[in-house]
Amino acid sequence: MKNFELYEPSNVREAVATLVKIGPKAKVIGGGSDLVAGVMKDWVQGNGMPLPDALVDLSTIPQLKGIKVDKTGATIGAMTTLTEIVESKDLQKQFSLLTQAAHSVASPLIRNFGTLGGNINQRPRCWFYRGAEFNCYKKGGDFCYSVGGDNRYHAIIGGELCYIVHPSDTATALLALNAQAKIAGPRGDRTVPFDQYFIGPREDVLRENILKADEVMTEVFIPTPAPGTKQAWSKLKNRQVYDFAIVSVAAAFTTDASGNWADGRVVLGGVAPVPYRATNIENQLKGKNVKNSIKQAAATIRTAARPMSMNAYKVDVAQTMVERTILGALG
């Protein structure tokens, strides 16, 4: 591993000041299971992705940890561990989608260490990106190896230049719950809905979100869902512990008395470079009886999908999963 300096700020202002002072070669560290034990250990670097010279450890800032639930919603500090989220009874009661998504991450050991902020902002798992010898677009190179290579786990929707899939389970759930991120930076705090938080390769191939190098995600706010909101999470993985989603589906929606779709969101993980909000499915369902229409609505995923040479199976899986997840939420 390359040498680095470690900073231990005692508050967010100090953390931001350190990021500003050192510049883009300083990186924020949450639990470190991806940045240190992944990116840095494996020398994942390139012209567009120099290895950090400095790490700013947020675990020394107590204010970034904790879960508060009130009438308006839940506020979760970015340094709250996934285990703390899983074990929160308050979250379980109203935001079971997040509880389940957090529980489906990796393994108990990782969840004890991994933080919400880290999980949302982790780098993608594409094996070309992670392989030190592949100088790909995402690292500042000029090639995507997945196009002609083994792309069985790559994007079926929204790939362009780069075909990663977004790796975060909690991000998928949070987008379905219409959550927003609070970000601290040198110009003060800003709040960004997750609708606008993630960016695809067309916008900036070197990043997966709008977070700037001198900014820190400090907390996540989830508004209290409308009464009667049905929530469901499902994640298909090849191994039951310690695995990322082949396809995941997060759904949060309301129905009227006769079982017709009133309002809600369907978000897919594992299919696109960003958590993918399937608005075409939502639109198909709008005003219709969910039980009777879901089969047809789920099939619209096929019109959005542009599978590659080895991942067409993910389109079938996504369709099945959407259908089953929504039916499951109906109970």
Partner: protein
């Protein structure tokens, strides 16, 4: 340096006949040969028979092995009891001395810079920047390798594997090795070395290397990069035979890696003119032989210690690799202890693998269920070295069923890719997969019950070609027991008729298995020391890598000698300085190899004790002025008491007899395995699955594994071996496949996250083991080894269950979600 192509020795009788005495001598110490002896006893047996003298094999004894009745289980005092491992507490507490945890004052850490090209010429290596890094002590590379080591190479050739090749043939070939004050500095230093490569065309695909017009990478007498085409085995008239139904299939398996929990690592230092080595190895004496040969030292100048605690090995740690020689040289150059720990990626990429296989199978069967002919052609991907694995798949094709007309072909192809080698066997799981799949397809084609079909065609006599008999084969019992336990008669149904939930189908499948592993080979050595206080010490060179071999050896000695298990000790560790070679812990052979050595040593000690006891009975009687005639043959030992068989109340304590002689007793093994038998492991597995047609998920709900182990010496350990083997097999059935990028040859998933060994949640709760005991005449107390056989049957059994569930054949392992969904598309 005189080298012999060990592979050719077994495959080419003319070549074997041309070897000189010096060649044979070189072959004995050759790691490739040692591996062949371990993994393919059936292939080396004819050579050993023919060239026993040249190979320095012990003379066959005129008298049979020491009285070795298979015995009745109710007579045993120790054998057949479930006894925990001698080092069990050290394993579960991690207080045992694992090499990975060992540190020495002043030691240096290494890290290796490796080729990123599958085939290239190394034009230059510039280490100046790395040398300037504080904490870097030495860098070894082709440019500064001491002259005496420039001609050192490992393995068979061509192509050559020198310590640092100028022409590298694989991604991961070593370019330079840094020794630094800590691992972190060494890791940084290798990133500061500049290497200039001239890339050369690579052959990454096995079938591409097989093509006549494929580029040759060395002066190859075969086409392309073919390493060897084994002379076919022909029985009857396979080309002329006819059958009612002919089944064709191409069955393939992917490259697998062992993923031993402890990465390969060593700690080495020189004590004056001797090299001391702590190393994660499966064969301490083999490691010693390999290092002594590479370093040009007599064997006794290298001391190898395997600490007895090891995160297993599964076959890839039988010998040494280049890194171990680099470490020894760096220890010599720097005068400091050298610690080398492979990274997980290095363990994945640079060590050996179970190779990729392709089987082109054709089976002719009549509607009455009799087999008429078989044409089976096996390809193995040898990877970037000269090795062979294809004809290792022949064993069960040749022996399991009665096939009157048979043609077996085998082709090993070199590629600039993952190197082939043992992985809980090498080839038998492939042979079993290919044969059982074609049998299953044949049964389906003629509408036969797959279990009945197998029972009808079983060969229970012996090898049809060599005529060597099986000893008390338990295959029928295995099949019957597994079928009964899973409820085959009630549960087997037509394909795709049992939908258990919407879109989810139940299926049941079956597979039988035969392989040569667990047989026992030479040398089978060991010593037993009986101290003057009557306590017993076992001395064995057997390297325990986890399965509990050494516990079993103490049990064997206690039983053979007639003393309580508690009075016997055995160390967990092996030190080559004070043990004799008793072959590697591979080929499931230690029960009948190291175990045989201990048995014979115990019997030798017993003979000496009985002679002393007879003398003592007579002397004691004389002191009482009595006349007594006693011969050793009239005596026996049980529970540490020597008694006369005619009057068991006349007895002597063991310690009084040994004390009387004034010296400890040393029993030793003088033994050579007989070659009379086709020594065979037998098994049958039955599996139940649920296949989700929407997601392609195959859920194994139950697996029954019946194994004929001859005699379960330690049933606890046997059950663990079967369960562990099944779990390991499940990895290769569902997920494990080492992948490379077809454009660059770089490895895609050399880590546990992307390679995906199963987690505990991926393993069914119900793995039921059935132990069949049909004692073998050649076995220690009738036992046959068990380590590798459980690896083979799960793949065909589960594939058969998937067919039964949804009516689709999965002909390629692993059966990933993608393949299952693709196969389903064809049957919808």
């Amino acid at each position: 340096m005189l080298t012999v192509d060990a592979l050719r020795v077994v495959q080419d009788p003319k070549y074997a006949a041309s070897l000189t005495e010096a060649h044979w001598h070189a072959l004995i110490g050759d790691p490739v040969w040692s591996e062949l002896v371990a993994e393919y006893p059936e292939m080396v047996a004819p050579v050993q028979d023919l060239y026993a003298a040249q190979l320095g094999m012990p003379l066959a004894k005129a008298e049979p092995a020491a009285d070795n009745p298979p015995g009745k289980s109710d007579q045993f005092k120790v054998i057949g009891k479930s006894i925990p491992r001698v080092q069990g507490l050290g394993v579960v507490t991690n207080l045992g001395q694992y090499v990975e945890n060992m540190r020495m004052p002043g030691m240096l850490f290494t890290r290796t810079l490796r080729s990123s090209h599958p085939h290239a010429k190394v034009k230059s290596v510039d280490t100046r920047k790395a040398e300037a890094l504080a904490g870097v002590v030495a860098i070894l590379h082709r440019g500064n390798l001491p002259a005496e080591y420039r001609n050192v190479k490992l393995g068979s050739s061509p192509p050559d594997r020198y310590l640092f090749n100028e022409e590298v043939f694989e991604v991961g070939a070593p370019i330079a090795v840094v020794a630094a004050e800590n691992e972190h500095i060494a890791d940084q230093a290798i990133h500061l070395i500049d290497v200039e490569y001239e890339p050369l065309p690579a052959t990454l695909d096995m079938m591409e290397g097989y093509q006549p017009n494929a580029l040759k990478q060395w002066d190859n007498k075969e086409n392309g990069t073919i390493v060897a085409i084994t002379p076919p085995l022909v029985r009857g008239n396979p080309d002329g035979a006819r059958a009612d139904v002919v089944i064709d299939a191409v069955l393939t398996r992917a490259t697998e890696q062992h993923m031993a929990l402890e990465v390969t690592n060593s700690l080495m230092y020189w004590d004056q003119d001797r090299l001391i080595v702590y190393y994660t190895c499966q064969h301490a004496h083999g490691t010693r032989a390999g290092l002594a040969q590479a370093l040009k030292l007599p064997a006794n100048r290298v001391r190898v210690i395997q600490t007895g605690y090891m995160g297993s090995g599964y076959g890839y740690r039988s010998g040494i690799d280049l890194a171990e020689v680099h470490s020894a040289i760096l220890a010599k150059i720097t005068g400091r202890p050298i610690k080398t720990m492979y990274t997980r990626a290095e363990d994945f990429i640079t060590r050996t693998h179970r190779p990729e296989f392709r089987n082109e199978m054709k089976l002719g069967v009549n509607r009455d269920g009799t087999l008429q002919f078989g044409h089976f052609r096996v390809f193995a991907n040898a990877g970037a070295h000269r090795s062979g694995a294809a004809n290792g798949s022949w064993f069960n094709m040749q022996n399991q069923y009665k096939i009157p007309n048979l043609k077996l072909e085998a082709i090993d192809v070199f590629t600039n890719s993952f190197k082939s080698g043992p992985y809980r066997c090498v080839s038998h799981p492939n042979g079993t997969f290919a044969l059982e799949m074609i049998m299953e397809k044949a049964a389906a084609a003629i509408g036969a019950d797959p279990v009945e079909f197998r029972l009808k065609n079983l060969n229970e006599v012996g090898n049809p070609d060599t005529k060597k008999p099986f000893s008390n084969p338990g295959i029928r019992e295995c099949i019957t027991a597994a079928a009964e336990r899973i409820g085959w008669k009630e549960k087997w149904h037509k394909p795709r008729v049992k939908e258990v939930r919407p879109g989810v189908f139940h299926g049941i499948g079956f597979a039988a298995h035969a392989c040569s592993h667990g047989a026992g080979t030479d040398p089978a050595t060991g010593q037993v020391i009986v101290n003057t206080d009557g306590s017993v010490q076992c001395v064995s060179g057997c390297t325990d890598i986890g399965p509990g071999q050494r516990t079993q050896m103490a049990m064997i000695v206690a039983e053979a000698l007639g003393v309580p298990y508690t009075s016997v000790t055995i160390t967990a560790y092996v030190d080559t300085d004070n043990t004799t070679d008793t072959a590697g812990t591979n080929g499931s052979r230690q029960t009948n190899t190291g175990g045989r050595g201990m048995y014979e040593a115990a019997m030798d000690a017993k003979r000496q004790i009985l002679k002393l006891a007879a003398d003592k009975f007579i002397a004691d009687a004389k002191r009482r002025n009595e006349e007594l005639q006693v011969t050793p043959e009239q005596l026996d030992i049980t529970d540490g008491r020597i008694f006369t068989k005619s009057d068991p109340s006349k007895k002597l304590a063991l310690e009084s007899v040994v004390q009387g002689s004034g010296l400890s007793i040393l029993g030793r093994s003088i033994y050579r395995q007989d070659t009379k038998w086709e020594r065979t492991a037998w098994a049958a597995h039955a599996a139940e699955v649920e296949v989700d047609t929407g997601t392609g998920t195959v859920q194994l709900t139950r697996l029954v594994a019946a194994h004929d182990v001859g005699r379960a010496l330690n049933p606890f350990a046997v059950e663990q071996q079967i369960e562990g083997g099944v779990v390991m097999a499940l990895g290769a059935v569902f997920m494990e496949e080492l992948l490379k990028d077809t454009a660059t040859g770089l490895t895609l998933n050399p880590n546990m996250l992307d390679y995906r060994p199963p987690s505990i949640l991926d393993v069914p709760e119900n793995i039921e083991t059935i132990i069949i005991e049909k004692p073998k005449e050649y076995g220690v107390f009738g036992a046959h080894g068990i380590g590798e056989p459980p690896m083979a049957p799960p793949a065909p059994a589960i594939a058969a269950a998937v067919y039964n569930a949804v009516g689709a054949w999965i002909d390629s392992m692993p059966m990933t979600r993608e393949k299952v969904l693709a196969a389903l598309r064809n049957v919808r």
